[in-house]
């Protein structure tokens, strides 16, 4: 696969140069501005979701102590927290944010191949966020059906937000998927068609690989969510029976017949499991680049890392029913899905090994991004290993629907990706803003976040062992639960509030850096990848001035023997510096 010249025509530089403030920062078609718009919006809704989790934790830690929390809005908090974090924060931030910023810069392109579509993608995403936020204020409030929105209860009285909340939730998801599709087609096409001369696929940084494969997963998985959202909307508004069998709801027959609630679960998890990897694969890719750069060492086993991303992406479509072992589906499915699920542990484990071997015989600079990257490896190991409990169908019997599940997926899909998000923001901050941040504040932020989140989620697994069910507003008195479980819940709440509050450190750092931060070197980490080799920092519209870069080597020529510097940027010709690794060159 060669490069395609669409992006390296000279006139492309002035092609859509912005003229006014509005076209430069608001209706911008520059992938970097769009990335920042995506990022800010995602972080804004993420903070709302963080606030919702604080409300949940207050009730769980100190039951019935707060007059503003009751079972109705508790379940609304649970639902909106989950949905916002998974879809509107993590998916949007990794793909819309980092994908947008990094893909063109890392593959040596001037922009995404469809800049107008890219702009549209953000604004449609913003519409989906606004619809979502409106649902907090409609009569009955937002939906309280749990982020999985399982029918029948999602659309029946007995569940909060059945009047309007569920409609707006489904509508917002539909709009989000439209936005994602516009962005996603763009990312995939850009990676395939707009790489600069010499940037073969097997020379791309792993960040791009992770985002690229994650986007493909999204394009294949989100349609399943879209159709299930449409079908549920029809069940709710047109009294169809896709997911609704004949039932007696609170003594009333709502008039459905013949539908299958399990069909929804299959559709939902056919999207929902790849969704885990839509979040995880970009994190895998980014963390690989952070580890390699700050350890001054090539990523260990690059080709295996690429194939592992592809294998995990592929396998993620044949494991979905491990979310449904106790759903009442045909139990014989358990054999198949347990096997595929545990197989996925092999490529995932290899990635972990390769991250750690990247540190081996490295020259490790423990800067802020590196701290977050190593923190990620630790939490991801923990979260990955607990996945082996839940994926093994037998063990899922006692642990399913308990706090073990909550702890597991927060460790693997909450804490781990968020550590990468922060690591990535610190890592690319000098390029994005042209300024340095406070290393000291950044380190404090890391320690509080890393230790705080581990204090939340390690003990939470043990509540699950003891049998504490998730999604319980209150436990009340039970015979089998030790009373000390409540003390543990109180501790977890304190830790959660602590982590939430210490995120202020990050925002203080951001504001300090933007106002007083020292001017950043164009390549402060001595990194090899192309985004650090731009003529301007921050890169201007069109990224590369008049001449597009040319790629001459893979992304990981760190500490190549026989060369004076401990890094050789990808655009340094072979004549000027030894090429450490020959893979992919033969295609050139």
């Amino acid at each position: 696969m060669g490069y395609v010249a669409i992006a390296d025509r000279d006139h492309e530089v002035e092609h859509h140069d912005p003229q006014t403030f509005i076209t430069k920062y608001i209706w911008s078609q520059d992938h970097k501005v769009i990335a920042i718009q995506y990022g800010l919006t995602a972080i804004f809704v993420g903070l709302i979701a963080l606030g919702l989790s604080a409300m949940m934790r207050l009730q769980l830690g100190f039951p019935d102590s707060f007059s503003f929390i009751n079972p109705e809005n508790y379940y609304q908090f649970v639902t909106m927290h989950g949905m916002i974090m998974v879809i509107y924060l993590l998916t949007a931030l990794f793909l819309g944010g980092f994908g947008n910023y990094l893909i063109p810069l890392m593959v040596g392109s001037r922009d995404m191949v469809f800049p107008f579509l890219n702009m549209l993608s953000y604004w449609v995403y913003l519409v989906s966020v606004i619809i979502l936020l409106i649902s907090f204020f409609v009569p009955g409030g937002s939906t309280g059906a749990g982020w999985t929105l399982y029918p029948p209860q999602a659309i029946l009285p007995g569940t909060p937000g059945v009047e309007w909340g569920i409609l707006l939730m489904l509508a917002s998801l539909g709009v989000f998927i439209i936005a994602f599709t516009m962005g996603g087609l763009n990312y995939v096409t850009t990676v395939l068609q707009a790489r600069c001369r010499g940037m073969t696929l097997m020379r791309m940084p792993l960040s791009v690989w992770g985002i690229f494969i994650a986007t493909i997963l999204g394009l294949l998985a989100f349609p399943a969510l879209l159709v299930s959202a449409i079908m549920m909307l029809l069940d709710k508004t047109m009294a169809t029976s896709f997911f609704m069998p004949a039932i007696s709801s609170m003594g009333v027959d709502p008039g459905h017949t013949g539908g299958s609630p399990i069909l929804f679960q299959h559709l939902f998890w056919f999207f929902g499991h790849p969704e885990v990897y839509i979040v995880a694969l970009p994190a895998f890719g980014i963390v690989s680049d952070l580890l390699s750069t700050h350890a001054r060492k090539n990523i260990f086993g690059y080709r295996m890392m690429v194939w592992a991303i592809i294998a995990i992406g592929g396998l993620s479509f044949v494991v979905w029913a491990h979310h449904m072992y106790v759903s009442g589906m045909n139990p014989y499915f358990g054999f198949f899905f347990a096997t595929t699920t545990l197989i996925i542990a092999v490529p995932t484990a290899l990635k972990v090994y390769n991250w750690v071997f990247t540190l081996w015989e490295g020259n490790i600079h423990l800067r802020v991004p590196m701290l977050f990257a190593i923190g990620f490896v630790f939490t991801f190991i923990h979260g990955g290993l607990t996945g082996l409990f839940l994926g093994n169908v037998t063990i899922d019997l006692p642990l399913s629907d308990t706090y073990f599940v909550v702890a597991h997926f927060h460790m693997v899909m909450g804490v781990s990706p968020v550590l990468v998000v922060f690591g990535a923001i610190y890592h690319w901050w000098p390029k994005i803003t042209g300024r340095m941040y406070s290393e000291k504040l950044g380190k404090w932020h890391f320690w509080m976040t890393f230790l705080g989140t581990y204090s939340i989620y390690l003990p939470m697994h043990y509540l699950g062992f003891a049998g504490v069910p998730r999604r319980y507003f209150a436990m009340g008195n039970t015979d089998f639960m030790p009373a000390s479980a409540q003390d543990l819940n109180a501790f977890i709440t304190m830790a959660a509030l602590f982590v939430a509050v210490t995120q202020i450190l990050f925002f203080v750092n951001v504001i300090w850096s933007l106002r007083k931060g020292p001017k950043a070197d164009p390549n402060p980490w001595d990194a090899t990848t192309l985004e650090w080799q731009t003529p301007d920092t921050p890169p201007k519209h069109g990224n590369w001035g008049h001449e597009l870069p040319e790629c001459h080597r893979w992304a990981y020529d760190y500490s190549v023997p026989g060369y004076k510097d401990d890094f050789i940027p990808q655009n340094v010709p072979a004549e000027d510096a030894p090429v450490g690794r020959q893979h992919g060159v033969e295609e050139h």
Binding site: P160, I247, D253, H382, P459, F465, A466, R471, G476
Partner: protein, 450 residues
């Protein structure tokens, strides 16, 4: 350096926490020791990986941290190492998966000698059905479900006539006999879970699911719904009592069959009027209640609720708490109604009494009350009219001082704490939503406006 030390401390700390944590699996009470065994294997394998990889990482951070003039080695790949690690990982995964699949095969193949019990879920209650002497369940259909036929039984199916219907959330099973729980939901998804038995399964409307186990410990085990089923999900509790075979048989004999329930004659108001004279002493000849004697209004209250409460008083599920002064007065009175027929007769008479709204005696902030009442409306209805399908009694137009006292009793565990008072237990959890005496006054004041 601090990072490496912290990583090591976290590894050691996690291991110590694991060993000393008092929060661990409840003692097993079923045949599923194999599940615990699979978990143990998984702990060993994953624990070893957790320790090894993290300690190795910490070692790398110490050994290869940046030093002046240091330089990393250049090693893009190491095929041999990567292959070796792949194989080792695959072996570890197989060590966990193999017993897992083996145990699962046991779980999906129910022993042929298992007896069957049907657990029925609805928002937010459990009930049970036993197949009766013929060993066959009668046909049920969701479209036949009504307050008079809560199980949706087919009245013409001969197999169903002897089905034993347990309409409260406590079931019994005999010890050491495999039991297959057939799971059925009337409305939304639920999940039948008992921590000590280890196994759980969702209830799905429109189909029947199952799980099986052999209980091997006597005792009472709580059933929790573990699939989000609406606003009151967390109150959906039940229990399974594991009893000796003889005790189980005696208990089962005492439960009514479908045919017996249908044969209970309707109450006779004329006969009931004579019995009501006892009640009238406190509740008044018109059933309007008498505040001076702490007797609430009963005229206009639903028959099914009066029946439940009279039975609760008779069984001690209500009115037995030492601080329940007025409940203790009511309990011996209820005992004068010797059987179901007597209860039905007196209720039939109460149904004939005029239903005039009780005068309001409590004032409060109606707006705040309306806000608080949102949660109550899920079960008691938007007009406080009560919803029999949810076992929620009428609240509007009844005696307000009595409502306030009951809310306090629920909060204080004076009512609803008895293990057999399941609906009271639910109300106890819900009553905690009110955080002050003022909240209680406000909500009662609002109910007065309905």
């Amino acid at each position: 350096m601090p990072l490496a030390v912290v990583l090591i401390l976290l590894v050691v700390g996690s291991l110590i926490f694991h060993v000393v944590s008092p929060w661990t699996f409840t003692p097993l009470a079923s045949n599923w020791a194999m599940i615990d065994f699979t978990i143990d294997i998984t702990f060993w394998v994953t624990g070893a990986v957790f320790v090894a990889v993290n300690l190795f990482m910490a070692y790398c951070i110490i050994k290869f941290r940046h030093k002046k003039d240091a330089r990393a080695t250049y090693e893009p790949e190491n095929k041999k190492l990567e292959t070796w690690l792949t194989v080792m990982t695959a072996v570890g995964v197989a060590a966990m998966l193999t017993p897992g699949l083996f145990v699962w095969a046991n779980f999906v193949n129910v022993p042929e000698d298992a007896h069957e019990v049907e657990a029925v879920g609805q928002q937010w209650h459990w009930s049970y059905r036993y197949p009766g002497e013929d060993g066959k369940f009668g046909e049920v259909d969701a479209e036949r479900i009504s307050v008079d036929n809560p199980f949706g039984m087919d009245p013409d199916d001969p197999n169903g006539q002897d089905d034993v219907l347990v309409k409260h959330p406590e079931a019994r099973i005999p010890i050491d006999r495999p039991v297959k729980f057939l799971l059925r939901s009337k409305d939304v998804l639920h999940d039948f879970a008992i921590a000590q038995f280890r196994v759980k399964m969702d209830l799905v409307p429109g189909m029947e699911t199952f799980l099986w186990l052999t209980p091997n410990k006597l005792g009472r085990f709580e059933v929790l719904c573990e699939e989000l089923c609406g606003m009151a999900h967390h109150t959906m509790r039940g229990a399974v009592i594991v009893a000796e075979q003889d005790d189980f048989d005696a208990w089962l004999d005492a439960q009514p069959t479908y045919a017996e329930i249908n044969a209970i004659p309707a109450g006779n108001a004329t006969v009931g009027a004579a019995q009501y004279t006892v009640c009238a002493a406190c509740h008044g000849a018109q059933g309007a209640g008498l505040a001076a004697l702490n007797a609430p209004k009963i005229a206009g209250q639903s028959a099914w609720y009066l029946r439940t409460q009279l039975n609760n008083y008779k069984s001690g599920a209500r009115g037995a708490h030492p601080e329940d002064t007025f409940g203790k007065q009511m309990a011996p009175m209820a005992a004068t109604l010797v059987d179901d027929a007597a209860i039905n007769n007196v209720i039939a008479h109460i149904q004939t009494l005029p239903d005039n709204p009780s005068p309001a005696t409590i004032e409060g902030d109606v707006d705040n009350g309306a806000r608080l009442y949102r949660v109550c409306a899920y079960c008691h209805g938007g007009q406080g009219q009560g919803v029999q399908a949810l076992n929620a009694p009428r609240a509007a137009g009844m005696t307000d001082w009595y409502l306030a006292r009951q809310l306090e009793n629920f909060q204080d565990g004076i009512r609803g704490a008895h293990p057999m008072d399941f609906y009271g237990f639910q109300m106890g959890l819900m009553a905690n939503v009110l955080h002050s005496e003022q909240d209680i006054k406000d909500i009662v004041a609002y109910i007065n406006t309905l």
